[in-house]
């Protein structure tokens, strides 16, 4: 029995264990779930060490061509502070590391979100209603622009949704519902694709190892 066949069996049996959850919770699922959690946690630890900490930190602190770059001690110390969470007396120091993570994340988000999610979308919505020509495009474009504007009205929090604002918000939530329905329908296919992929694995890779060829 080759390593490849053993691998296929491992994968297939674990898959079946996890699928058994669809019926109800059972010892097979519990086993696979616990194994999955443990192995994946271990994988990410190793992965972080090998792919981030060694190349992006250690090899910069102590470059292979020799020398020592003390500036890289700073992230090292901050990382250490983060781990001080484990020592109650020193736990407060981890706030410094947390502050760096949150600050950098917030700074990146502001520009990235404003650029890609707000300004670019506003820019894309500024169109001539007659664009494309013909009454059908007029109607479509009007639906689009009204949808964006009324959708935004729905997200008004500091104005009561009454009168004109209420009417617009109602149109807004209606458009949102149509959008969510469409997005759901569009996604069904992807979800089934995944099942197809797993089924193909079981039917065309695992069954043949037992001499069953479909």
């Amino acid at each position: 029995m080759s390593w490849e066949v053993i691998g296929i069996w491992l994968g297939a049996l674990l898959s079946l264990c996890l699928y058994s959850f669809l019926y109800k919770d059972n010892p097979f699922y519990k086993f696979a779930e616990h194994l999955f959690v443990g192995m994946s946690a271990g994988y990410w630890v190793i992965y972080t060490i090998m792919n981030v900490l060694i190349p992006n930190w250690w090899q910069k602190l102590v470059p292979m061509e020799g020398g020592f770059q003390p500036i890289w001690l700073v992230p090292g110390v901050l990382s250490l502070f983060m781990l001080f969470r484990l020592i109650p007396k020193l736990a407060g120091l981890s706030r410094l590391s947390l502050a760096l993570i949150v600050g950098t994340g917030a700074g990146i988000s502001i520009t990235a979100m404003l650029q890609t999610r707000a300004l670019a979308q506003v820019n894309g919505t500024i169109i001539a209603l007659g664009q494309g020509g013909g009454w059908f495009n007029w109607v479509s474009n009007i639906i689009m622009v009204t949808g964006v504007v009324c959708g935004l009205v729905y997200f008004f929090f500091s104005k009561p949704h009454k009168g004109v604002v209420g009417g617009a918000a109602n149109i807004g939530i209606t458009i949102l519902m149509v959008a969510f329905g469409a997005s759901f329908g569009y996604t069904v296919m992807a979800r089934i694709s995944l099942l197809i992929g797993q089924t193909q694995f079981l039917l065309f890779e695992w069954l043949p190892t037992m001499g069953i060829h479909l």
């Binding site: 959690v37 443990g38 994946s40 946690a41 300004l119 001539a128 504007v149 929090f157 759901f184």
Partner: protein, 392 residues
Amino acid sequence: MRKMLFVLPLLVFTAVMFAQSGGLASVDGGGCFIQSLTAEDAPNDAGGGIDLTWTVAAGTALPDSMILERFDHDGIWSPISTLAPASGRKTDVGLDNDQEYSYRIVPFYNGAGEEPCEAVTAVPQKQWIHTGRIGMLVTLTLISLVIFYYIEHGKRGGKIYIRRIAGLTAVEDAVGRATEMGRPVMYIPGIMDMDDIQTIASMVILGRVAMKTAEYGSPLLVPTCRSVVMSVAQEIVKESYLQVGRPDAYQRESINYITDDQFGYAAGVDGIMVRQRPAAIFMLGTFYAESLILAETGRSVGAIQIAGTAMPSQIPFFIAACDYTLIGEELFAASAYLSREPKLLGSLRGQDIAKLFFMIVIVLGVLTATVGEAWEPATKVADFLKTITRVE
């Protein structure tokens, strides 16, 4: 109010919109197979770059290949790149700022280099303002000003209304119901790390939910996908229990790390759901494909589910499988809604004004663009609006 001072430097940047061209050097080939070669400082970079463009003359014999050479302060011409024998552009990078560099192109026929065309010179410089992002800088400055203005307004006791958000009025009922049934409350903060703004928003809401579970005395389970989120959650929940006066009821071990793996996390949380049978499940934060795996399992154990995310692709699944869903920005309004803290309500008011600004831009832009098709001058307004919302 002091906080608003930060905008001053931003305004100064905006004021220095002056052009900073490093000078455009250009030569006409004059008989050479290269019709024109230009070199100029690469725009909007931290320096060290020179943009080169060249066009090949039509009607002359094309060389087999061309070599781009650079003359730098070492005083020698050194080849830096082989070019395809066609018109093109290239950016030379890694240069020293404020030094002069010259470039020329040497043609190769049958493997032998011939007389190069005339050289051009440019000086790389760093820029202090990204010219393609000035519109965005102005917008960001305005939005920040408005938000901080209303935060101050709220702090000073200005009255700010907040509309009803169904999912959030249900928080208290959900926790209450869990207590009656003697079952735990589960809080899932998404699968991203603390640098994600949705996770941060979720942590703030967690503080509020924890106060409720502390008051009602029902156990709170917080399985997390990230280590940092776990430790922040522990800190926040502990603080909430302390504030409500129930530090004894805080259980650190019920807030734990599962695994960084997206589906490993989903498998683990599903397991906890079917075994602990929480009566209320909160799913607030950034979610990807695991959203429906969690929500359907939560549904099958009969929990009241309140979900919220700004991920457009996952909202439909939460709507289908949960009792209440906070859509997009509602997630960020949650902390203000639950706490009614004036500064947060103020911030929300500021966000509304910012949205109003974008709505006006859209409506004005669409109207002028539409009118512009019949009456030319109106397009100028639309073009202006498109320019300020375009970001390079």
